[in-house]
């Protein structure tokens, strides 16, 4: 039997029996709604093919993620399928190289350095992400619109050294360029955290007072923190707030008007689709070499959620049909630039 790593069918196509496939989903932690829904999506997919997903979490600790991956790859990797959320850009390369060497099927999401391309590897099937620049700009525009095109806003940045934070902020800057009347009063990092967003927002509100007409947050958690800050400052409803991710609380807030807009990123789908793509490849239903170049690294569809369409997103719905091997690339919105 071929125990050792790396000497697999060079085409990168698997011939595993479906029952032999080992599905692994790895995210930062199970303690926030977004990643919890990701793992739930993975579980649902695994169940649909009669398997179980091994859930791995690394607590946002890059080294721990690497440690887990290398330990995982030190086991039996023949029919291993991994759907991984790298902690940061820097964590993707070692994961990819390790998986490639061990011949494990890999789908990564969100974080990837620009010059690292799945097309250069055999078993790194695909990289999925959302267009951060676009979503940052979309909510920036929505914010500008809701404050009537002019006035001061403040920005809450994410963890400064992540691509998501940078892209989204770049999107805001693009939006500011187009909306000349909107003025960025201040920007601070709140590290994607609800609690930090609360204190930072309070401080910025006292600093800029009534000049603040809107708050741009790089994710919904921070937007929700900002909402609390507004409520505590007695400014509930007087300042527009936008975020990204469409976590359930944010969608509800958009629905009832306390928040202006957010952008969908469908965690349940992300958790399922990565495993689905890997499963199809491992069982030979999908030949990696046949996958279109544009689908090896792509932006997934995302939607701006405003009061008008929020009801649609209130219940995230994953269509099992999305995970059929023929449909797995249905939500591709465009190739990664």
């Amino acid at each position: 039997s071929e125990e050792a790593a790396g000497d697999k069918d060079p085409a990168g196509a698997g011939a595993c029996k479906p029952a032999d496939v080992k599905l692994v989903g790895q995210v930062r932690n199970e303690s926030n709604p977004y990643e919890a829904s990701w793992l739930a999506g993975g579980d649902a997919f695994a169940k649909s093919v009669g398997l179980t997903q091994q859930r791995l979490t690394y607590g946002g600790d890059s080294t721990k993620q690497q440690e887990q991956i290398s330990q995982l790859l030190a086991g039996d990797t023949k029919c291993l399928v991994m759907n991984v959320l790298p902690n940061g850009d820097s964590d993707t390369a070692p994961i990819v190289k390790g998986a490639d060497k061990a011949g494990a099927f890999l789908v990564t999401q969100w974080n990837k350095p620009a010059d690292l391309k799945p097309a250069d590897y055999k078993t790194w099937i695909s990289h999925i992400t959302y267009n951060g620049v676009e979503s940052g700009k979309q909510i920036g525009d929505a914010l500008a619109k809701s404050i009537g095109g002019s006035g001061g806003i403040i920005a809450l940045q994410g963890v400064l050294d992540t691509a998501a934070a940078k892209d989204r902020f770049a999107g805001l800057q693009a939006s500011l360029k187009e909306n000349a009347g909107v003025q960025l009063l201040d920007q601070q990092t709140a590290n994607f955290s609800r609690a930090e967003a609360l204190t930072v927002t309070k401080t910025l509100l006292t600093k800029h007072g009534d000049k603040v007409k809107g708050i741009w947050a790089a994710n919904d958690d921070m937007a929700l923190g900002a909402l609390e800050a507004l409520q505590q400052a007695g400014k509930s409803g007087k300042v527009a707030v936008v975020g990204i991710d469409a976590v359930p609380d944010a969608v509800t807030a958009v629905q009832n008007g306390t928040m202006t807009a957010t952008v969908s990123s469908d965690g349940t789908w992300q958790g399922g689709i990565g495993l689905a793509i890997g499963f199809c490849a491992a069982t030979g239903k999908l030949q990696v070499k046949d996958i279109a170049a544009d689908n090896r690294a792509f932006y997934a569809e995302q939607f701006l959620i405003t009061k008008d369409n929020a009801a649609q997103f209130a219940q995230p719905k994953t269509d099992p049909a999305d995970f059929d091997c023929a449909n797995v690339f249905k939500r591709v919105a465009g190739p990664l630039k």
Binding site: S31, P33, L160, Q188, S193, L198, T203, Q231, Q232, D249
Partner: protein, 332 residues
């Protein structure tokens, strides 16, 4: 800030500079406040001062708890886990969107009791298993986070309990209820420290634990009790964070462990125990909060903020120890 072992060594320094030592942190607080006030007109606004005090509430409560532990010469890193567990507990027990519970104050009490239980666990690990508190509390923190994650179960519990939400929003004399709760905690902490056997023994344990044993005092129950009291403060802090955020977060206590130790130490509480106290720590908390707020107000780049804060903390402590420097002084 300085550690002197034994009676003889302490004899040599106490008389000199006892006044300086306690004056250092308040002076530093005033100086830093004045510097920021001079640099930024927004900083010196009434609204911002209120904001600083309000923002200090949770940290003040955590620091109250940790101060007792530090006074004994132990350390406590469990606040992050305990606060997470208590935040989830309270948010699932008061009116919320996950279940039909609506226990109100009883739910809050339960969260505080849970905090006590975790503190009790740390204390037991220390006195029964003889695990240094650094490790024992780190372990308990992990356990707390695990328990919190279990309770979280994938869906964020949002609270709708009017009373708990109002704590963060309603104001009395310009300050939020949470701030008054923190003030009450400081007062309670001060009373415990000064007027109860628990507080005085915690102080004495930091001063000379072996002497207490020689005097026939059973030290272990007091150590456990101190950790339990600290746990209660963390439990309350978890509730307060939940009130602020309107939701129970596993990460409710993120970063409070080191911030609280920093605040206590900056305020003049010794890591080796036996000196400092609640009032010192309160000054430390204000100093830390003034710093974080001030740096944002004067517009220091977010990239540099952490660094500048670290630098100022080191400088403040350094300035505070200058009057008591001696050649053969033990600094750990």
């Amino acid at each position: 800030m300085t550690v002197t072992t034994g009676v003889a060594a302490s004899r040599r320094i106490i008389r000199r500079g006892a006044a300086f030592r306690d004056a250092g942190p308040p002076v530093a607080l005033v100086v830093i406040f004045l510097i920021f006030a001079a640099l930024s007109p927004q900083f010196r606004s009434i609204a911002n001062v209120q904001n600083i005090v309000d923002a200090a509430a949770v940290l003040a409560v955590v620091t109250c708890g940790i101060t007792f532990v530090l006074m004994m010469g132990s350390i406590d890193l469990s606040s992050a886990g305990v606060m997470g567990a208590s935040a989830l507990t309270v948010s699932l027990l008061v009116a919320n969107n996950r279940n039909d519970n609506d226990f109100g104050l009883a739910g809050i009490a339960a969260a505080i009791v849970l905090g006590c239980a975790f503190g009790f666990l740390s204390g037991l690990a220390l006195v029964l298993l003889k695990v240094p508190s650094f490790m024992a509390t780190l372990g308990v923190s992990a356990i707390g986070l695990g328990v919190a994650t279990l309770m979280f179960a994938g869906v964020q519990p949002n609270i709708s309990d009017a009373m708990l939400k109002s704590w963060a929003i309603d104001r009395f004399l310009g300050l939020s209820y949470l701030t008054w709760i923190a003030a009450a905690c400081i007062l309670a902490g001060w009373l415990i420290q000064r007027y109860t056997r628990l507080g005085r023994y915690a102080f004495a344990i930091g001063g000379a634990e072996e002497v207490l044993t020689l005097s026939g005092v059973r030290v272990k129950p007091y150590k456990v009790a101190v950790f339990t009291v600290a746990g209660a403060f963390y439990g309350l802090a978890g509730v307060m964070v939940t009130s602020q955020l309107g939701a129970g977060l596993v990460q409710a206590g993120n970063g409070y462990d080191f911030s609280a130790i920093t605040a206590a130490v900056v305020g003049g509480t010794l890591l080796t125990g036996g000196r400092g106290g609640i009032l010192h720590s309160t000054v430390g908390v204000l100093l830390v909060m003034v710093l974080t707020n001030g740096l944002v107000q004067i517009g220091v780049s977010p990239y540099w903020q952490g660094g500048v804060e670290g630098l100022i903390v080191v400088a403040a402590v350094a300035a505070a120890v200058i009057p008591q420097r001696r050649r053969n002084q033990v600094v750990k």
